[in-house]
């Protein structure tokens, strides 16, 4: 069930030998993905797609696929990691890429179906196949590697007009390993017309020095008039590495509200692809990234307006401390037919030190003429005058800096609708600030 990847010599790798428990119905897509993986150039800073990422760790390193832990590992996981306290969430554990929770034993909720990839019906397999977007992955060999070697995954479906009140709370946990390990995993979400769902993805990892690489993809289809709320909370330990993608396709009148948080990880890259494919669709994407020490956190977002009358609103803010770095790449692509598109994008960054670094790269590709599009990116440091003002009122410098930094991202936190998530993150932010202010 495990495989070893040697990036240097990947052209000699053989797919069937890699995946010992393949998903036969996904074979063709996997073969294509694998071909692309083999022929893609090794990521270096010379390749535009990887310009800001230090991927040198791939060189000369071979990774073995993480082993499946059995359910007993959950006791350990529950002890080690703290969780968001929901009143009524459906909790699913994914450990080292493997679905460890017993899906068949989950509470059953009318209108909601959660299925393990290897338990799917032919109709469900067609859905999963439709989400295997090799084209999308073409630039990203790690996305292709993920797709090509999948043997585990989760399909989440909501039936028409069903409003699922209980959030699905997925805890992605990476445990320490002896050898350099790669984990891979995919989640497919399919909302039928007028359905509603909230998905909370919470990423955690053990703090250690093992060489790990977590690959993950979540692919979402929102049918007409459906509503989807998505949280992606990357709260791994500082030593973690993750490369992931989130792709959402919105049909007409569909609405996406998503919130991203990046904290921790020495390398954390999320590519967010959002496609407005039906008129009057709307997305609100909010994100906060807080790299400290020598961490690197990247968000690469691409919002496509393919049809007229869609709205997109994207706001990302980052605080970069110590010698950390962040990249925010915000692309808006408005197709020729997409008249009356409204696309707003705003990115603000706060550098806490002189060594902190941010690359913010707005990209506009607009082929329609009747659109409203605003795009802004700023980089600033804490305002000395504000720090001084607070000090003259008795607040010490550290606390003053903390208050000002929190204020910078608080606005975005305040918009979080789920109180339990908001409370959890406020607390986390407090701890982060204590750490950074010292």
């Amino acid at each position: 069930m495990s495989f070893t990847i040697d990036f240097e010599n990947r052209d000699q790798l053989d797919l069937p030998a890699l995946v010992s428990k393949p998903l036969p119905w996904l074979k063709e897509k996997q073969r294509l993905a694998f071909e692309q993986f083999k022929s893609a150039k090794t990521p270096t800073r010379k390749i535009e797609h990887w310009k800001y990422n230090d991927m040198t760790f791939l060189k000369g390193q071979s990774f073995t696929q993480s082993k499946r832990a059995n359910e007993s590992v959950l006791t350990e996981v529950n002890g080690e990691f703290n969780q968001i306290t929901f009143e009524d969430a459906i909790e699913i554990f994914i450990v080292d890429g493997h679905i460890v929770s017993d899906i068949s034993a989950l509470r059953s909720i009318e209108g909601l179906t959660i299925t393990n990839f290897n338990q799917t019906s032919p109709a469900q397999q067609d859905i999963i196949n439709s989400h295997a977007d090799i084209e999308l992955n073409s630039k990203n060999l790690l996305a292709n590697l993920n797709e090509a070697t999948l043997s585990d995954g989760l399909l989440i479906e909501v039936e028409p007009k069903k409003v699922i009140k209980q959030p699905i709370y997925i805890r992605h946990v990476t445990l320490s390993s002896e050898n350099p390990a790669v984990s891979n995993q995919k989640i497919v979400v399919q909302l039928a017309p007028s359905a509603e769902l909230t998905l909370v993805e919470h990423f955690e990892s053990s703090l250690d020095d093992s060489e790990q690489l977590a690959l993950q993809q979540t692919s979402i289809y929102l049918a007409a008039n459906s509503r989807f709320t998505h949280y992606r909370l990357n709260l791994e330990a500082e030593t973690a590495r993750q490369v992931s993608q989130v792709k959402t396709t919105l049909d007409r009148d569909a609405q996406l509200n998503s919130f991203y948080l990046g904290l921790g990880s020495k390398l954390n890259r999320t590519d967010i692809e959002t496609i407005h494919a039906g008129q009057n669709a709307e997305c609100n994407i909010t994100g906060i990234y807080l790299p400290a020490n020598e961490q690197a956190i990247d968000y690469h977002t691409n919002i496509e307006h393919r049809v007229p009358h869609c709205n997109s609103n994207e706001v990302f803010r980052g605080i970069i401390a110590d010698k950390a770095s962040a990249t925010f790449n915000g692309k808006i692509h408005i197709f020729q037919d997409a008249q009356k598109s409204d696309a707003q994008l705003n990115n603000k960054n706060l550098l806490l030190t002189n060594q902190a670094e941010v690359n913010t790269k707005p990209e506009l590709e607009i082929y329609a003429d009747d659109v409203s599009c605003a795009h802004g990116a700023t980089v600033a440091q804490l305002d000395n005058k504000s720090v001084y003002y607070l000090q003259t009122r008795g607040i010490d410098k550290q606390k003053a800096k903390k208050m000002l930094s929190i204020a910078f991202v608080q606005e975005l936190l305040n918009q979080i609708k789920h109180e339990s998530v908001r409370d959890y993150l406020s607390h986390l932010l407090d701890n982060y600030m204590v750490k950074v202010a010292n």
Binding site: D383, N384, K385, S386, Y388, Y389, L390, Q391, T392, R393, G394, I395, D396, K397, K399, A400, M403, L404, I406, A407, F408, Q410, E411
Partner: protein
């Protein structure tokens, strides 16, 4: 309580204060007047500990403690308060959160019992009323979008909450209409106490009709060039600062 002796200070290699001496005793009100650029605000900044405003010679003590040995926040906690000529706006930090953090810090330093949230709210509301600011201001960002007069009243409210020993008011009267001036003056007068003293920086005699000073000083080119009683303010207004140069 506040003793300034032969103070020299520079900003970005430019000497601004050039041997300023002033002693303020408990309960006294001192007015400082003087032309634009003479160093009035600089004095407030140097005393309160603003970065870049460096004392190069002389001393300043508050209750015999060397001010220049303390961080800006320690000076505030020791009882020094500066009401700014131009208060900064801090969006994202609510006025309430700010005031609470400030009062908490000062009380803790002075080893007073902390105020619980309810007691603090009550106190803050009272003070708001005293300076005629709507309570909605407590929820807004610190000075965010406040009018000039609202900012000044917010400064006075902070002074009331913190109960400092030495209050420096830097042109708190500038830009106020007559009603707001009355509110600010009432606020200051309500704070007057045999143990509390004030340094009031102003260009206008008008304010001194409401807050009657014990002494008036004229600051010119970084030094106090003339001191007198409250009648000096009247004389200055009549004759203009040009008159000073001829002294």
């Amino acid at each position: 309580m506040l003793k300034i002796n032969n103070l020299h200070a520079k900003v970005e290699d430019k000497n601004i204060l050039k041997g300023l001496s002033l002693e303020v005793k408990p309960g006294e009100v001192h007015a400082i007047m003087g032309p634009n650029g003479s160093g009035k605000s600089t004095l407030g900044y140097v005393l309160s500990g603003r970065e870049g405003y460096e004392a190069t010679d002389g001393t300043a003590t508050l209750n015999d403690k060397d001010l220049f040995d303390m961080e800006a926040d320690e000076r505030a906690k020791s009882g020094l308060f500066l009401a700014f000529q131009y208060p900064v706006e801090i969006p994202g930090v609510s006025n309430m959160e700010f005031l609470k953090a400030s009062v908490d810090a000062v009380r803790e330093y002075q080893q007073k019992e902390p105020l619980d949230a309810v007691a603090f709210m009550k106190l803050a509301r009272e003070k708001c009323q005293e300076v005629n600011l709507d309570q909605a201001f407590l929820k807004r960002g610190v000075n965010e979008g406040f009018s000039g007069g609202e900012k000044k009243r917010n400064e006075i409210m902070q002074m009331m909450l913190l109960e400092p020993e030495v209050c420096i008011l830097d042109e708190t009267d500038s830009g106020l209409d007559i009603d707001a001036l009355q509110v600010v003056a009432d606020g200051v007068n309500a704070c007057r106490d045999p143990k509390r003293s004030f340094i009031i920086v102003t260009h206008y005699q008008r304010l001194l009709d409401y807050i009657v000073p014990d002494y008036v000083h004229v600051l010119s080119d970084g030094k106090i060039v003339k001191s007198g009683g409250k009648e000096l303010a009247l004389e200055l207004e009549e004759k203009g600062y040009g008159w000073i140069d001829q002294l």
